[in-house]
């Protein structure tokens, strides 16, 4: 009986250690994921929120970022988006937003595209039946 109890105690200790280590592993694995729905982010369509306390939130698409925006609005210092053409990071206030029939991130059916250059945006509008949309990150 005493031997059984010892085995049960060992099992419980092992289980707790496993769970603690598992939880820490999970924390690492969420680092490169969208802060709204956890999906892996594609650098070309990522949106970054820099918060007042210096921390950064990243989102897989404009769709996810704009869904999170109302909740985080008061804490956001800067919104950074990525130019689809060059892959360069730019401030959202300087970016041009276009909605077209092309889906960039399928799981949220994101159709909003980001451009730094007006010519690139116009080309996209003509080619994919797009139209201009307002910056969704205006406070």
């Amino acid at each position: 009986m005493a031997s059984n109890k010892r085995w049960i105690a060992l099992f419980v200790i092992f289980l707790i250690i496993y769970l603690v280590l598992g939880c820490q592993g999970e924390r690492k694995s969420v680092e490169n994921r969208c802060d709204y729905d956890g999906v892996k982010v594609e650098p070309l369509y990522t949106v970054y929120f820099t918060l007042q306390d210096g921390t950064e939130k990243k989102f897989c698409s404009v769709a996810c970022a704009s869904l999170s925006f109302p909740e985080l609005k008061s804490r956001i210092k800067e919104v950074i988006v990525v130019d689809e053409r060059s892959g360069a990071k730019i401030n959202a206030s300087q970016a041009l937003f276009v909605e077209s029939e092309v889906v960039t991130v399928p799981h949220v059916k994101n159709r909003i595209h980001v451009f730094a250059n007006k010519e690139d945006a116009l080309k996209h509008i003509q080619k994919f039946k797009g139209n201009w949309v307002e910056n969704p990150f205006l406070s």
Binding site: I16, L19, V20, G22, C23, Q24, E26, R27, S29, V30, R33, D35, Y36, D37, G38, V39, A63, C64, L67, S68, E71, P106, H107, V108, K109
Partner: protein, 336 residues
Amino acid sequence: MILNALSITMIFIGALSALLAIWGGISSLILYRKWERPSRPEEKTSLEDRSYLILLIMVIVLLIRLINWPLFYVTLQSFISDIEGAMCIFGVTQVRPGLTRFLEFLKPVNFFLIGGWFLLHLLDRATQTSPLMKRKLLLLSFLSLLVLIDSLGDIFLILGIAPESLVSCCTTVTNISNRPTRTTPLSIFGPEYAHSLQVLFFITHIVLIGFVGLALTLWKTFLRQRLILGLLFLFSFLNAIFFLLSQIEVFAPAMMHLPFHHCLYCLWQYVPDSIVMYLFFILGTFSVGWGFTTELFGRQGEAADLLPGYLRKIYSFAFFFLLASLIMLIIHLLVG
């Protein structure tokens, strides 16, 4: 159809169990009707031999159907990469939403009924006169019908999921503010509904564990009271509703570190050991129910004498599994 090892396995299991369920269901119904009719000894022996064959085959079929529930989700998980727009199982369920929702409801019901039937079968096998045989056969014919529906559902679903289907995933459904899991508790508890749900779940879960523990301690009194066991089963069902609501609204977002995301399929994906926690919770809750169904159908002849010992074992399992799921949840919330 998306062709992979799991989808082929599902179709094979579905076809096999559908055929055997038809045969087993009809045979057990015929045997049930003949069982206690006066007959000659050689006819009685022939009936018993047939019943053993039917039980042997159906036990294997039912065991496969028990495994089928997790296999169903593993198969759906394997389809994610082939469905455009799916990031978790939720996306796959959107290809054939009606049928998938029906199967997602039917499978736990089947799991519970099959588990309950197995416990009766074990109890009956421990006796020398098989006093539960007639009930077992009747329940088996009913279970066969459910197994048949489930198996056919699996086959139609797997065949009906076309590769490259375009769906919207969980983000556009589970994260919206007018989701029913939010609006219902919001209308009852007000803006602080998340906190209320959390507290309510911990209270009901701890009370349930307490009651099961009490029933085990005072088993001579408690485990003979059908009404008490029935109420305990209802309470475990209520606790399961609070578990589900609090998981969707509070615990899953906390465990995933995604405060706006309320998808349980994503939780299983991002926090895989939460599956073990869910398994413990399901087995704990179902064990409470199985205790009640075993008492309900097992109090007959020689089996009635063995029943208290069996009930103690079943409720010990319930106690262990419910406690284990609670400990896992607490560790996740504290460490994660």
